[in-house]
């Protein structure tokens, strides 16, 4: 009797895995941890930390994600949701250490007034690889306000809307910050 070769089971999406975790399947959470551990550690290192702090904080991010997983809407994308938790965790940690607010205050003019939406493809004459190279070299000199959208866009491959969901800012503000961030990078490199 001929047997059909066994087809590999299609990989579940993050959202499907999250739905299983919501139903109480703790082991499925391991899949999410394995998918996002390296990404979030890299994000933490690029953005805020250069030592071991990032690793501990990423563990804390996963614990918080588990505790709050039932607040996740499985009809939406999982990655902006977990990056939002990571963003909050990292910013809170910086505040604790520096005992000051992060420089993205609630009264930031960028978020108060409307802007023309910059096109996602508008790179101000830079190509993606070029910006990535410049970013790697100048991460420490850029202000956090511009660094985070640049890291999310160029290294984490997020689109404008996902970045807006992570930072809780208007989509047009994401475009403005990316544009200004790129100009700053250019200026820093020239200097």
């Amino acid at each position: 009797m001929n047997t059909m070769p066994e087809m590999p089971e299609p990989e579940r999406t993050d959202e499907e895995v999250a739905a299983l975790v919501q139903k109480g399947d703790i082991d499925s959470f391991r899949i999410l941890v394995e998918r996002y551990d390296a990404k979030l550690t890299r994000y933490a290192k690029r953005f805020f930390f250069h030592g071991d702090d990032g690793k501990d904080l990423v563990q804390e991010v996963f614990i918080k994600a588990y505790v709050n997983i039932k607040s996740f809407d499985t009809a939406r994308r999982f990655s902006p949701w977990i990056y939002r938790i990571a963003h909050n965790e990292f910013v809170n940690n910086i505040k604790k250490r520096q005992k000051e607010r992060d420089n993205v205050s609630i009264f930031d003019f960028d978020t108060l007034f409307p802007h023309l939406i910059a096109k996602e493809t508008a790179d101000d004459g830079f190509n993606k690889a070029e910006v990535k190279r410049m970013l790697e070299r100048s991460l420490d000199t850029l202000s956090e306000k511009y660094k985070e959208p640049l890291v999310l866009y160029y290294f984490e491959d997020m689109d404008y809307r996902e970045i807006a969901d992570i930072l809780h800012i208007p989509v047009s503000t994401v475009g403005v910050r990316l544009q200004r961030g790129r100009m700053m990078l250019k200026k820093i490199i020239k200097e």
Binding site: I26, D27, F29, R30, V33, E34, D37, K55, V58, Q59, F62, I63, Y66, V67, N68, I69, K70, S71, I106, T111, L112, F113, P114, H115, A164, D165, H168, I169, P170, V171, S172, T173
Partner: protein, 222 residues
């Protein structure tokens, strides 16, 4: 050697961390919604009070009296309350900023939307019926703080007086305000009758005596 995912899964399985239930998030969302509704009602209360205060101290109608009237209008604006309502709008924005429908929009749009919603509500809610009763009550039975807020009538800004015409003579008429206090208005009464509601633009020349430089009738207004 244990890796990170083992450590996290073991922490979860040990029961050290527990997943919040859906009911917990629903209760939290309900609390946020309740806070937002209460804040909106408070903003509405303050806004209708501002309208009421402007109606009662005459500032609302002062613009009919030319540039001097506009000066009186700005002088009669309750700036503290306007700043308070702006502060409340900011708090409401902060409360609702957790929702994408709010944080995806610039604050200016949210502010404009709230101004439109409050203005529309003010059209449908009679400021006089809400605040007139409180005003008359606290005038007779002073309540700390609240009475202070409702003290605008005792010092009408910019020389604007509002009330009902009681009696007329050849060169003056008697005006009664919302509290039943009367003043004599020195002007030749033209086109007004006893019972009319009027706005008087002028200045006090003696106790309960006003030298008027303009009088306007207010139609359908109490």
């Amino acid at each position: 050697m244990k890796n990170d995912s083992d450590e996290i899964i073991n922490t979860i399985k040990s029961g050290e961390t527990k997943m919040h239930s859906r009911a917990y998030f629903m209760a939290r969302a309900a609390l946020v919604l309740l806070a937002a509704v209460l804040l909106f009602l408070l903003i509405l209360f303050v806004a209708t009070f501002i309208v009421f205060a402007l109606q009662e101290n005459g500032g609302f109608f002062a613009t009919n009296f030319g540039p001097a009237g506009w000066g009186a209008f700005f002088a009669s604006l309750p700036w503290t309350l306007l700043l308070l309502s702006l502060a409340l709008v900011l708090i409401l924005w902060i409360v609702l900023r957790r929702y994408s429908v709010v944080y995806h929009q610039p604050f200016l749009y949210i502010l404009l939307l709230l101004i439109v919603m409050v203005s529309l509500s003010c059209v449908f809610i009679s400021a006089g019926s809400i605040h007139g009763g409180i005003y008359r009550y606290v005038s007779r039975n002073p309540i700390p703080v609240i009475s202070g807020v409702y003290e605008f009538e005792t010092a009408p800004a910019g020389g604007v007086y509002r009330g009902q015409v009681v009696t007329l003579s050849t060169s003056s008429f008697v005006l009664e305000n919302i509290l039943g206090q009367t003043s004599t208005v020195l002007v030749t009464p033209v086109g007004i009758d006893p019972g009319d509601y009027v706005i008087v633009f002028g200045h006090g020349v003696a106790t309960a005596t006003i030298q008027a430089s303009g009088v306007e009738t207010i139609v359908d207004y109490q």
